[in-house]
Symmetry: C2
């Protein structure tokens, strides 16, 4: 049967001061009126039933995740430690297989914005069918909309079926010129939307992932703590997909965004005629291309351009849009009593 | 005896959203830790005793003014209507004379920042002595520190004493080139710090101010309401000083500012090494020449220049410093529910 594994860990700081350890990015209504985590679960309706959706997260968020996503407690998998994506996905896949030996797994992240849920489901369906029919690991490659340098790219190779090809190679975070070349050559963004049968994934890990494979017996014995203590943190891309020869890529031709920075709101939310994105109460006067998020006070902008203005959790942030990707440097420069925010 | 008349009416909007009808500019701690109205009263210590300080204000503010300034209730003069400065000053001077036929009056405004209180008192003392010795109206002209186009200028004429001359003429709100010429020629800012004997002022009004003079009998009869109903609103500058031939000017060589806009805070408050003025909790990162005022949330600026950022009364205002003098246009453009703020 089909299962979904949703990665919902992490407490990133790129949406400071809105995101907090208690209310991280995936629990924020960044792309709509509900959180991206809730949207991610809702988007699976008709594709995977809720009782077969497993969510991987950390101990600090588990209770809130379960409540917000309204899933059975047994479907919330609490990582003993964060160890990148390979251990999390291998554990969750193994858990699906324990409950269903024939498990076919779709894996995704809880912090995505997707423009067309029906297209997402059609593509995910194709990925799951491809994984079964061709006995391979499948990654969904998103058709790029810009030469983004922060993503990995997939270069497709030999055709398998309509819109499905084998992966020729991966290109991780290219420079701007290379990103343009990759786009022109038909390379796709490596999104993290994957499909595989549990049986094949575990066999491939055994063959290609020495950082994790020695701990598979602990996992089969149900000793999750020992598994996580023994593994070396590594991503599924580096630790398996780039090493395996059995990876197919399905093209995903729908708007997809991992909402990496405040700037991403201009892609996933509607803009006013002056290019501004506003969430909360605000009046914008002779201002263009700004991003405003306010939880409480009414924001008034006059005569400004390309600014991010956020009020949340007792902080007011004002910075140029171009600094959205440098949030870490800003937070490193702030005194702890200013930087540390809580919901 | 010496009396002081402090004009403390008005509920200007140039410090929106901090200033409100209940808490207008003169009651805000714009230049220091207490309001400019309180500073104005404190600055008179040793020059005029508190029991001889009369404060003119409107009905909406009277109770708060009395409490904040800790003055006898009889010293708060509540204008029945706002009618510019001439009726207010004539009424208050007449009231001083009613209590003290020999009254010598110093008049000032409640919303000034003064850099050197001792110099202010020495200059005010000179103004009061000049008014008595030379039987004239006296205005204190501030030595300009910039070619300000928003002020009136006084061109001094024949010398009367050291630092004291007759007024040759007034020049109201010159253009920038004229302001530079006026500065170069030794003209002084017309501040609104005046001195006169009650007897002379009322005689001069009788002679030169037909907008008010016909109502003087009502005032003498104690009918303030009739006086204000009958007068034509006019400033003391236009209605009397520019018409009288008996006006002397005393040079005031101390920092003086009427704190006309948010931008004025850069003149009356200390700046950090990057030229920023901050009131309230804030962390500024790679930001220059900004003005931050926050009543509650901690403001974080990163990579911005020449911005005004204010949080007060449920509003957050962000605009370039150069727009500080265009507050009226902004407020006219805002929806009433955003514009109307209350403390």
């Amino acid at each position: 049967m089909r299962w979904a594994v949703v990665l919902a860990g992490g407490s990133g700081t790129r949406f400071w001061p809105l995101s907090t350890p208690e209310n991280p990015k995936q629990l924020l209504p960044l792309a709509g009126s509900v959180s991206t985590a809730e949207e991610s679960i809702d988007r699976l309706t008709g594709l995977v039933p809720r009782e077969r959706i497993l969510v991987v997260t950390g101990a600090a968020l588990a209770a809130q995740i379960q409540q917000r996503l309204n899933l059975p407690g047994a479907n919330i998998l609490v990582e003993p430690r964060a160890a990148s994506t390979a251990p999390a996905l291998i554990w969750a896949t193994s858990e699906a297989q324990r409950r269903d030996p024939e498990a076919e797994v779709l894996s995704l992240h809880a912090d995505w914005a997707v423009g067309d849920a029906a297209a997402f489901r059609r593509t995910a369906d194709t990925a799951l069918l491809t994984a079964r029919q061709h006995q391979c690991l499948v990654t969904v490659g998103m058709v790029p909309s810009r030469p983004e340098t922060g993503y990995g790219y997939i270069v497709p190779g030999a055709p398998l079926a309509d819109g499905v090809r084998m992966v020729a190679r991966f290109s991780e975070k290219p420079d701007a010129a290379t990103a343009l070349d990759l786009m022109a050559a038909g390379a796709l963004w490596n999104s993290g939307l994957f499909a595989w049968s549990a049986e094949l994934l575990l066999a491939e890990v055994e063959a290609h992932t020495p950082e994790v494979a020695p701990q598979l017996p602990a996992l089969k014995a149900g000793n999750v703590g020992e598994f996580f203590r023994g593994v070396t943190p590594i991503s599924i891309d580096v630790g398996l997909l780039e090493r395996s020869g059995s990876v197919a890529v399905v093209s995903g031709a729908f708007a997809w965004d991992d909402i990496g920075t405040w700037q991403a709101l201009t892609r996933v939310r509607a803009k006013d005629p002056n290019g501004n994105v506003v969430v909360g109460n605000a009046s914008l006067h002779e201002s263009e291309d700004c991003i405003v998020w306010t939880d409480r006070d009414t924001v008034v902008l006059s005569g400004v351009q390309d600014l991010i203005v956020v009020q949340a959790n007792g902080r007011i942030l004002v910075m140029p849009s171009e600094r959205a990707s440098s949030m870490k440097q800003l937070l490193d420069a702030l005194p702890p009593e200013v930087r540390d925010v809580h919901s």
